[in-house]
Amino acid sequence: MNSLTELFQYSFFIKAMIAAVFASISCGIIGSYIVARRIVFISGGITHASFGGIGLAFFIGFEPLLGAVVFAILSALGIQFFTKVAKIREDSSIAIWWSLGMALGIMFVFLTPGYTPNLMSYLFGNILTVSNSELWWMFALVFLIILSFALFYKPILYIAFDEEFARTAGLRVPLFNYLTITLVALTVVLNIRVVGIILILSLLTLPQATANLFTSDFKKMIGLSTLFAFAGTFSGLIISWWIDIPSGASIIFTLVIIFGIFRLIKHFGQ
């Protein structure tokens, strides 16, 4: 137990805890939106497309997260454009952007001279190596999401629930759709360092699945998802340190266990 207390004296661990709080809030809010609106597959497409930006950044030599942000937003808007304007089936649009991003990422990494040491931390995450600047970006994201939902909670909820009705009421549906999909893209990318491209989707869906066991109210779902996301991230981090396994995988595994426990409790409690 002493060593656990000591852990909180290390600055890298404190930073990891702060990152866990920020990730829980952003993924708690945006994940609830994604699950409620059934756009998990779109989020998967955006996540994987962002790998193209990471590869390009390695190849040219600039900040990989910046490359990921650009590719994530482009793919998010691209999927919307392909579906709504070019009238391509939504699942096909997602698959096109998903595979294009991954293909570009692999090509750029292959073409990059020498070894790319941080590549694995983008693919599988490493919350313990999160930098100060990344923490500031995560804080800015949390601020932006809370501000957007505080100002536009009702139109975001109503459009997500019944887009057609919202249009008959004269709401600016495309504008809000572009806003929310951009927030999804930013959430995906700026939380990549927590659990990685491969696993980020779980942080956006598992806490929500657990929350959904207890509530069908969107606002309460956001609150509960944030709590479950933090519980999973914190416990996963401790477990990863304790038995010395990768933090990203440990966090997601913990989130699955939390879901399983509450699902069983609910099943046998009824």
Partner: protein
């Protein structure tokens, strides 16, 4: 008396392919029109054009100044298109009908209006329930509340009698007749026998629109209007419903 809405030689559809062609219709403030027709005949397309969801391919639709654009139109969509797993409460669904008045209501006013309309509809007790926990009849009542909360001048209803039992259907038409004193109603149904006698006039929709200025229609008239649907008597319909239920 000026019509609230005047539709002139209007064609509309999807991907530039017209579903309804050369439709002419005037809707007055005390109208209660039942729109019937086969699947794919353009009934829902007509409602979408009136509600502003779909732009005409040709022709025009004119709104009276009294309507102030589409802000005075209440719309009840087909509930089969609603995501019943969406995490939203009855209260929030009904409150979303106040989007039309956005910026003009504070939270206390909104709450008061939602509570009042839920009480008037006899469903105040389910305001905190999730939408997925409701029966078909309760869900129709909730969406009717949403359509009515902004005090529309025209109410558009897309197959409100599906997924509901005969008791609710009777209550619904009784309520609509009372609402018709304050607003025009356009009701789409695939079942001509259920709307006959409740609406004031009938419009047969099968690509084109044939207006029938009475509330009863015969099979011969339907055939003359090129409207390929079969009349089913109430007795047969009730028996069929019962058999399905069993």
């Amino acid at each position: 008396m000026n019509p609230l809405i005047q539709i002139n030689d209007l064609s509309a559809g999807y991907n530039k392919i017209p579903v309804i062609r050369h439709v002419n219709l005037k809707i007055f403030s005390n109208d209660f029109i039942g729109v019937i027709g086969p699947n794919g005949g353009g009934k829902t397309t007509l409602l979408k054009v009136i509600s502003g969801l779909l732009q005409p391919l040709s022709g025009s639709i004119e709104f009276d100044d009294e309507l102030s654009g589409k802000k005075s139109i209440g719309y009840l969509p087909q509930i089969k298109n609603i995501d019943k797993k969406f995490p939203i409460t009855v209260f929030d669904v009904v409150r979303s009908g106040l989007m039309l008045n956005r910026g003009k209501e504070n939270s206390a006013n909104e709450k008061q209006k939602v509570t009042k309309i839920l009480e008037e509809s006899g469903i105040a007790g389910i305001s905190k329930k999730a939408i997925g926990e409701l029966s078909g009849g309760q869900m129709q009542r909730v969406f009717l509340c949403r359509a009515l909360i902004s005090n529309p001048k025209i109410l558009l209803l897309d197959e409100p009698d599906t997924f509901v039992d005969n008791t609710f259907e009777g209550e619904l038409y009784e309520r609509l007749q009372s609402l018709n004193e304050k607003m025009a109603i356009i009701l789409v149904s695939h079942d001509v026998s259920s709307i006959s006698g409740h609406v004031k006039t009938i419009a047969c929709m099968n690509g084109g629109l044939h207006y029938h200025p009475e509330n009863q229609i015969t099979q011969e008239q339907l055939d003359n209007y090129n409207c390929p649907i079969r009349l089913v008597t109430h007795a047969v319909r009730r028996k069929t419903t019962k058999n399905f239920g069993a």
